[in-house]
């Protein structure tokens, strides 16, 4: 069983997010980066699958500038067997199709049985990479996995639906499944794992070798939503005031 896990390095949730001067991205130099949360769960799921069937290979794949080698190494320290780094030279790509095509060009020849991705990245939150990649690689795809059950040539995935509903589906391998946070308890890398990670291979693919020539979507402007305080004084008789209050609590604040 050959499993690829796509891992993105994203700004940590307690990092300040200053915008660049031209307002098209955040100022990378002031940010602490971490492994995208749901990717961490996807990695854990991959490691558990490998441990359960006691066979196979887990490959962590990440795209981005040099700094992303840190999350690749973190994956290796936790137990992945090798890494692939798709280099990006300038600002990171945000077009999901462009991203998926980059991954496709590199993963195509590897013939993975299973590709696990996080549900979405905590930066742009498009949630499309796993689906697009599955499609481009001709794999069966599923999203929002909260439990997996691997068989020899199929995988059963429990999916989270709306309003507390769940669904079990069965996919033939090869498959691409996106994983929801909380599906398992991700391990910490041990000190031995950290030291051992250095000896594992990270294959580097230059941007010119994976990036498609076309771009289908581009990001125009990032901005921080303006917040303002509004005070409303309720006037009138008791009934009017109470009715308006209930309306606010129900419709505006949605707390009743």
């Amino acid at each position: 069983m050959k499993i690829a896990v796509l891992i993105k390095q994203v700004p940590g949730s307690d990092s300040a997010l200053p915008l660049t001067g031209d307002g098209t991205w955040i100022d990378d130099s002031l940010i602490t980066f971490v492994m995208n949360e749901s990717d961490n769960y996807a990695l854990e799921e991959a490691l558990r699958i490998r441990e359960k069937i006691n066979d196979g290979e887990v490959v962590v794949v990440s795209m981005g500038p040099d700094r992303v080698q840190r999350v690749i190494r973190e994956g290796l320290a936790k137990g992945a067997d090798r890494g692939i780094h798709l280099e990006e030279d300038g600002q990171i790509e945000t077009d999901p199709l462009c991203i998926a095509k980059s991954f496709t060009s590199v993963l195509e020849d590897e013939n993975f049985d299973l590709v696990l991705t996080g549900l979405q990245s905590d930066d742009t939150g498009m949630g499309q990479t796993g689906i697009l990649l599955g499609e481009l690689l001709g794999m069966s795809t599923a999203t929002l996995g909260i439990e997996t059950d691997i068989q020899s040539d199929t995988i059963r995935v429990k999916r989270e639906l709306e309003s507390g509903w769940f669904q079990w589906i069965k996919l033939p391998l090869p498959a691409s499944v996106s994983i929801q946070s909380g599906i398992n308890q991700p391990r910490y890398p041990s000190l031995k794992g950290i030291m051992g990670a250095k000896k594992k291979e990270i294959k580097i693919v230059a941007q010119s070798e994976h990036r498609p020539d076309t771009k289908w979507q581009s990001l125009n402007r990032l901005f921080i939503p303006q917040t303002n305080k509004q005070t409303e004084t309720l006037n009138g008789d008791a009934d009017t005031i109470v009715n308006r209050l209930v309306e606010i609590l129900r419709s505006d604040l949605r707390i009743i």
Partner: protein
């Protein structure tokens, strides 16, 4: 700062321990302190991660890492819970290092892998009721009876004692009515003749286990001696020299924990219509704390770096321990001041950090003792006219 002493491994180790401390330790820290509950489960987890054998060589089952890694791990643990940090630090730098420094191959093979994996916890018995700073005044006596040493006496304030599997301790040795000097021994703590006292009730480090030990005709075979008779005292003091780096690290962590709390609080709490950090007297407290923490970090990492490079670090370790522990006491005191009344109640963690700070000026050589060492060291370097 990180860039000066850290490589990529150190960064990854820091992130791992920080994540572990935030996720596993933070949620239980307050309750362990309140109930004086020893962190058994956390020790087992740390064992699995390799944190109970950070600086033990790989061939004895440890992670084989350097002192910088060890310092980083202690800082990250102490930033959240000093009791957990001292449990790990004392186990390593006091409980395991004497065997590493002084043990013969058989002792190392027997004990180090079990210590490094966290299967057993190590304790270190030097202090006695009548021999604290003056450790040479050890009264515990081992009398050679032809086959074994028969030990009588006792130790006090021994960290991890109630949870430990292994004890290294010092004792006077007497052979044929003649005192031979202070030797070190290593024994399984559950040995007939060794009685473990009740847990000390402490101001801070409450989840750490501290107890008195009583030796009553404790029979110790000659194979349990670490090195030669005359080595014991010298090497125990040497153990303390590197132990000081760990107390420096604990001090940084403790101060950081309190400082980060104070910083956050100062941005949230408003008085007279503005967040209190905007009052210069509060802002400057935070600035002083940040500055002194930074200075302590440089000193402690520098001492660790000297040790890693195999250079003499006696003076730097004493200076780092002295400065960092006094800095921690000051920073935690000021952190409470920043929080005002909220800092004084147990709901907020700064009160715990404050109680945890005091012992840093006492354990592994009091501040006064550090100053004695530093005076001795600086005069060594100085040509007295």
């Amino acid at each position: 700062m990180d860039k000066l002493f850290f490589n990529d491994d150190h960064l990854m180790i820091r992130d791992m321990v920080r994540d572990f401390a935030e996720t596993e330790v933070r949620p239980v820290a307050k309750e362990m302190d309140r109930k004086e509950k020893f962190p058994k489960k956390l020790v087992a987890q740390m064992g699995k991660l390799g944190l109970m054998g950070t600086i033990i060589p790989e061939k004895y089952g440890g992670a084989g890492l350097d002192m910088i890694s060890f310092v980083t791990a202690i800082i990250e643990l102490a930033r959240v819970d000093a009791s957990v940090a001292i449990t790990m630090a004392a186990h390593t730098s006091l409980g395991s290092v004497p065997i590493l420094l002084l043990g013969n191959e058989k002792q190392k093979q027997t004990y180090l892998p079990r210590l490094a994996s966290g299967e057993i916890i190590g304790a270190f018995g030097l202090t006695e009721p009548d021999a604290g700073s003056d450790a040479g005044a050890t009264r515990t006596k081992a009398i050679w009876d032809g086959n074994n040493y028969i030990v009588n006496g006792g130790k006090i304030f021994i960290t991890n004692a109630g949870e430990a599997g292994l004890l290294s301790f010092t004792s006077q040795v007497e052979v044929n009515n003649e005192l031979k000097g202070i030797a070190a021994f290593v024994i399984p703590i559950k040995t007939a003749g060794l009685e473990i006292g009740p847990k000390e009730k402490k101001m801070g480090w409450r989840a750490s286990d501290t107890r008195q030990l009583f030796f009553k005709d404790l029979k110790v075979p000659p194979e349990a001696m670490l090195g030669q008779v005359a080595d014991g005292f010298k090497f125990f003091l040497k153990t303390l020299t590197s132990g000081r780096i760990s107390i420096g690290a604990l001090s940084i962590g403790t101060a950081l924990g309190a400082y980060e709390n104070a910083l956050q609080y100062a941005t949230e709490r408003e008085a007279f219509g503005k967040p209190i950090y905007k009052f210069q007297s509060i802002g400057f407290k935070l600035a002083d704390m940040a500055t002194e923490i930074e200075a302590a970090k440089l000193m402690v990492y520098h001492a660790a770096w000297l040790k890693d490079k195999g250079m003499d670090f006696t003076k730097q370790a004493a200076m780092a321990k002295l400065f960092a522990s006094e800095m921690a006491m000051k920073s935690t005191t000021e952190a409470i001041q920043v929080l005002g009344g909220y800092g004084y109640v147990k709901e907020y963690d700064v009160e715990r950090f404050f109680r945890d700070a005091k012992v840093l000026e006492i354990g592994e050589g009091t501040s006064e003792v550090q100053r004695i060492i530093i005076t001795r060291e600086i005069l060594k370097d100085f040509k007295i006219p």
